[in-house]
């Protein structure tokens, strides 16, 4: 799976979690909170990732994951 595939999967999860938030690949380096995802949206997003990729994400790891691109790189490394 390429990073582009992962990115598209994460965009689909975000759209499912909070369809009213305007998200696109060109916002991949922006903080998810700044884009409009509140703390509950982000909890759902992380759970969606864990379920979709069978990749557990610890609270400590999550502290360093604030943008879409950071999540993409993290997952790419985990499933490599």
């Amino acid at each position: 799976m390429t990073e582009n595939d992962i990115c598209n999967s994460l965009l689909a999860i975000l759209d499912d979690v909070a369809p009213s938030v305007e998200m696109s690949a060109d916002k991949s380096d922006q903080n998810l909170g700044d884009i409009g995802y509140d703390s509950l949206d982000q909890s759902s997003f992380v759970l969606g990732i864990e379920e979709a990729f069978s990749v557990p994400i610890s609270d400590e790891e999550l502290e360093n994951l604030t943008t879409l691109n950071q999540f993409v790189s993290f997952i790419a490394a985990k499933i490599d």
Binding site: D38, L40, S43, L47
Partner: protein, 313 residues
């Protein structure tokens, strides 16, 4: 067969206004409306004890049903915020304040949001095993005793309330047909009262538990009961928050018309949330033969049951 004959409640009139905390917690009214589900929350008076809330709920039940105090032979109270330090047990204090008969059994159950579902099963089995006639299950767990006003994770969610549910073998009652129980004690610290007597919640852990474990138990319950979603008239979930309620609805693919809520009026009232929903349905005479109730939270404990109306006529 023992079952629920009637439910009554006491909800304090005083309210905490969540709208006054928007700036303090860096949230919007939209967040309150769409994620929390309550703009105001009932709160007990400083001088009101857990037992006082329970007494008022039982008095409301007596007024509603005509039940005589002398005929109550069991009083079971669910709380984790008892009077003083829990000794004596709060059910005994309620028993004393109400002036119930000495032959009336009274004991507490220590459970949070799963408490009503556990309690309904305990009451039914206890009453049938020992030939009791009228048992009252009280839920009274005022979290205002332990919620810190500065804690965003909990301050916006919890409201104070108490309920009293009459279990009897009357002619028309709601019986527990099948129930499943579960505990994930390894995650228990996700929702706890610290040594400084303040509530602490790991929101992510509690959300993950609610969004994954609870739907699985509901699916198992339906499967073990040879039922589908179509066989249930209403789903009465613990009112954790609007977001949790919406997540369960979405993950279980439930029709919105089968979901009932009192979040806007009461917020999360812990073990009182499901009986408050039941009271609403019963008092409004909403046509429903079969209900699925599911409580989950502190412990982490979870319990789900199918309730069915039974009539002797």
């Amino acid at each position: 067969m023992f079952g629920i004959e009637s439910v009554a409640s006491y909800v304090p009139e005083a309210r905490v206004n969540n709208l006054e905390n928007l700036e303090k917690f860096n949230i919007t009214k939209e967040f309150l409306d769409t994620k929390i589900g309550a703009c105001t929350l009932p709160i007990k008076a400083e001088t009101e004890e857990t037992s006082d809330l329970g007494v008022k709920a039982v008095e409301a039940l007596i007024a509603r049903t005509g039940l005589k105090k002398v005929d109550i032979d069991g009083l079971i109270l669910c709380t984790q915020n008892p009077d003083s330090f829990g000794l004596p047990h709060t059910s005994a204090i309620v028993h004393g304040k109400l002036g119930l008969e000495k032959h009336c059994a009274a004991f507490d159950i220590s459970l949070g949001c799963s408490g009503f579902v556990y309690g309904a099963s305990v009451v039914s089995a206890f009453a049938e095993a020992h030939g009791l006639k009228n048992v009252v299950l009280v839920t009274s767990d005022p979290y205002s005793k332990v919620v810190a006003p500065s804690d965003k994770n909990t301050r916006l969610l919890f409201g104070d309330a108490a309920t009293a549910t009459l279990f009897s073998s009357g002619t028309r009652r709601l019986v527990v047909r099948k129930a499943l129980f579960g505990t994930d004690g390894a995650l228990g610290s996700a929702l706890r009262v610290r040594e400084d007597r303040q509530l602490e919640m790991n929101g992510r852990a509690v959300f993950n538990f609610s969004a994954t474990t609870v739907p699985n138990q509901v699916r198992d319950l339906l499967a073990q009961s040879d039922m589908t979603i179509d066989d249930v008239d209403y789903f009465l979930f613990h009112q954790g928050s609007k977001y949790i309620l919406d997540t369960l609805t979405k993950r279980l693919k439930l029709p919105q018309k089968k979901i009932v809520t009192t979040l806007a009026e009461t917020g999360n009232t812990v073990s009182s949330s499901i009986p408050l929903l039941l009271e609403n349905l019963i008092q409004k005479n909403v046509p429903a033969n079969r209900l699925l109730v599911s409580g989950f939270g502190v412990g982490l404990s979870y319990a789900s049951a199918i309730l069915e109306w039974k009539s002797d006529d």
